[in-house]
Each structure stands twice: as C-alpha cells, then as structure tokens.
Amino acid sequence: MDENIILQVNNLNKQFRSGNHKIQAINNISFNVKKGETFALVGESGCGKTTTGRLLIKLVDADSGEIIFKGTNISNLSNNKFRKLRPSIQIIFQDPYGSLNPRMKIKKLLSEAVKSNTENKSDINDVIWELIKSVGLEVSDLDKYPHEFSGGQRQRICIARAIATQPDLIICDEPVSALDLLVQAQILNLLKELQKKYGFSYIFISHNLSVVRYISDRVAVMCMGKIVEEGTTEEIFNNPSHIYTKLLLDSILDLTDNEKSEDLYKTYYDDKYQVAIDYVSKSSSKLNWISPTHYVLQDI
C-alpha cells in the first residue's frame, strides 16, 4: 500500500431500518485520504456524507466494508481497542452550540482532551496555553464557559479540542455552515494554517461547493449514498463529468447577472433535478476513469 495513504475505505455499506422501511444510506463507497491533504465529501442533505463521517470513527457501525486507518482495519475492531486509536482521529461538528458541554469551563474541556493523550501530567497547562493561542483566542478565555463566546469563537474552541490530541486525521462535518460569511473566512483560514503547521489530513464534509473549492485538494461528490464522481478540485470544478455534479455546480449563485443564467433558471432545475436523481439511482457500480485521479460512476 502507498505509504502516503493514511485512510483507505473499501466498499463501505450502511443500511438504516425503520419498521419495514429500508434506506441504503451508504452504497458501496470507496476512497482514500493521503497524508496532509484535504479530502472533501460534497452533496445535498440526505446523501450520506455525514453518515460516512460517523462510520469512520465508529459512532455508527458499518454493515460491511473495510476502513483501514494507518494499516489497521478498524471496521471490526472492538470498542476497547479502537479507543486507543481514537486520539489520532478527531471530529469537528457542525453545531458549535451543541458540541461543547455548557457546564465545563474551556480549561476543563481542553484538559480532558490533552490528558487522554499525554503521559506527563505536569505540563498540561503549558500545552493548553499553546493550544488556545494557536486558534486565535486569549489565555484569559480559559476561565470562561461556552455560553460567553460567539459562534465563531466556539468553533475555534472545538478546533483547539480536536487538535489537542495531535491527531493524524480530523473529520470536519460542516464546520462553517452555521457561521456568518466573514467568520467563515476566519475559520477556513485557521484550518488551512493549522494544517500547514501540523500536517494533519482533513476529511471536509460540506454542502457548500464554494467552500469546498477553497479548502480541499480532492473532492468526492455524493448522491443517494454513492460517490458519483471523484477527482482533484481542479478536475471537478473545471471538468465536471457527471450530470449530478454539473447540476450542483450550476446552482452556485454567481453575483454577475447575465442573461444566460436567467434562461438556465427558467427551464433547468425542475426537470433536470429529477433526471439527475433517476440517473444516479439506476447507475451501476462501474467506474469510468477520465484521468488517473478522476472517475465518474458509469451508467448501465
């Protein structure tokens, strides 16, 4: 196996059941993440991107398939054994309001994460100071409770907690979608800076194509539990080849007001959306390779 690959996912499946109703949330997906890169999963709500993130850290158990993290197959690891690996995979959640314990001071929140990873208990304070400064907050903020912070600041705290264990892989599940535009820019730049400094890999889950284009090196487009197209960011944005990817890219709202986009609006969406969805549901699992790094799902 390529030494640069830190995460390899093979033929992952997950089905959810409610009574007699079955939903194939994840349908036979495979991908890999290399060291130090940002791999994005894009798609609309319900396409399975968040479920994928949860499967990777075993918040949900997969039905079948392999998840190989740094050479270990974690998909059939017992919970106890997985806990030992867990500091090297972290997750940042979408909602910075729901993911911090409201009754813990920031210091406690961070020290919990740091303690889980270090043997040396004496210099915990130094580590925490270093952490809080690296995400752009003040040391005096350590004695505050989460409610005293704004949404953007809370997301910084979540990031500090995630990097506290010096992970190899951070799963970012819609980390900026609850934030305002200017705050979003601050957080995206922070994520990029930290990656440069510490060299971890990100799996970036988002529905926002502009954000994905800015932050990621490679992109996988998901629809109805399948990866319909995967390639480098340039390949996906300059040469979208699957009908669903094209539809997603067309729905980015541009600020220029030209006639062409008006016409597109009139005829495009109502019909094309259904066509694209039908197309994905019928497509086979064969891959059509356009370049060594770029493939689309082949139709039947």
């Binding site: 609309e44 709500s45 704004s150 949404g151 953007g152 600041q153 305002d180 535009l181 200017l182 705050v183 820019a185 601050q186 995206l188 730049n189 529905h207 926002n208 194509l209 502009s210 954000v211 284009r213 800015y214 944005f237 539809l247 997603l248 067309d250 729905s251 980015i252 709202l253 541009d254 600020l255 007001d257 609006y265 009139k266 495009y268 969406y269 109502d270 959306y273």
Partner: protein
Amino acid sequence: MCKLLNIENLTIVANEKNRKVKITDNVSLSLNSGESMGIIGESGCGKSITALSILGLNNPNINIIDGNIFFENICLNKLSSGNLRKICGSKIGMIFQEPMTALNPVFTIEQQLSEPLKIHLKLSKSAIKSKCIELLESAGIKNASAMLKYYPHQLSGGMRQRVVIAMAIACKPKLLIADEPTTALDVTIQAQILHIIKKLIKENNMALLIISHDIGVISKLSQEVSVMYSGEIIEQDSKTNIIENPMHPYSEKLINSAKELNNGCNHLSVVNGSVPRPEENIMGCKFAARCEFCRNICKEKKPSLIKKNNGNGYVRCWKYINDQNLY
C-alpha cells in the same frame, strides 16, 4: 406618488431584566409597489427584527420606541392587533425561514392553505379548493390535488417551502416579505425556490422585501440593497453599485469575501474581531474597531447616513464626509 412601504427612523429595543438593549437604530427604508429591496447582514444585525416588526410579530419584550412603519399611508405600529390582522395576510404576505416550523403539523395542507382564503377573500367552499390547487401549481408543485390531503411531515423541505410560498401569495398581497427563504434548503432546491419567487412577484406585480445573509440570494431577487451592521443601515444603493462598487469598508469586505469564495481564489481576506454585542455602548462608528481606515473621529462620533457623491445611494462612513473642520 405615495410609497407602498415606508419605514422611518425605526428604533427597536429589547427589554431585558434590568436594562434596555438597542437592537436597531434609526433604520429607514422605503419601497414602491413592484420594487424589490434586499437587506443583507450577519446574524444579530437586526435585519429579521426589522422585517418582523412590520407585521407586529416581534416578541412582546421587544418594543418600537421610536419611528413609524407606514404601509399605504397607514401607520402599522399604531394599529390595534385586530386591524393589523386585516392587513397581514391579505395585503402583506410573509415567507419564513424555517419551512419545518412555519406549518402547523396537525393540519393538512388544504386546511392551512384555505384559511387565508376563507378569512380574507371569503370564498365559497368549492372555490377555495380550486384556488388551493391553482396556488400550489403556481408555486411549482405538480400533483397539487393529491398534495392537499398531505400533512407537513410527509413533505420534503423544498416542498414545504413551496407550500409556505403558496400561503404567502394566497390573497395576492401587494408586499411580500421573505425572511431567509432558502437558508434551510439545499443548493439545487434553493435555485428552484428563488426562480419561483422571482416568477411570482413578476406575474402579480408584488413588491418584495428579502432578508438574507447571502449576497448571492439577494442579487438574484432584488434591485435595491441595504447593508446592515449591528442594528444600523450602513449602505443603501442599487444592487449593481453594491456588488460592483461597495463604498463602506464593511460592505466591501462582505462582498469581496463572497466574490473570492465564488471565484475560487487561494486566500480569503479576513476581517479580524467580531460584531460588537448590542449591549456595548459605542460612541462612534460601530465598525471602527475592525476597520483598516479607522481614524480618531471614527471612534468619537457616529457618522450619519449621507448621500453618495455619484448616484442615489447612501453610505454611513467618515471616509466620505468632506468636512475639513473634523480633522
């Protein structure tokens, strides 16, 4: 010519336990019939509160302490709630942000959609049903007659938002207020909904007041744009001027940030710091602490909203006030 909607110097405060917090400060807006205006700003800047106060829907501890809202020369904030209800729904329609909570979960779509028709238009039973189907179809729902029997939980987010739109336009209002109509929706659905709103306001010659944090949404639907920051309007101009030539340093940052993301550049420009809290008492310009052009005067005295030299827009910034005595 009389304006359809005229908001004059609206100042709204929230009464908390032992203090009053100003949420909007001297907000003025006006809209002629058939025109469209967008309000853009970050969360907490007072844009939704302004829209909700038109319909008197604000929380009881949020009061208008100064200013008036005129709709066709009727002062809405002085009307009794009974008289206000005659105007809301029939002459002013509202599309809310959350299609999940805007519909009542225990009534069918038909029951909810027929309510405004029964109360405001006083249609007969058979007329109501055909009107309901017509409304749903105009909002882009294909199997409208089957949809009438459904409950909200049986519909997807996009379908629910279409039902909310159908309800808002049921009585052919003269003014449609849309408060973040697509924020809860996916991008492909967002494109469909924006197209439907655009089509409907054109067909029915409605005026539109759209509130959003997304300049992309605003640029698709409105001719005029107001930028709000921390409870104040800081710039007001035509859409083209705001997007191509924003003058206030904050609008500039906001528009550039959106442009940079859309064009796929390598580094986003960042404004440090965050929006001031409403309870902070700021003497000067509210953006001063984050502004790269900040001078002494900016921290000491609040700039007023002045007319731009070129064109009809307004901007609130000391940069454009040419008074030599100030420095």
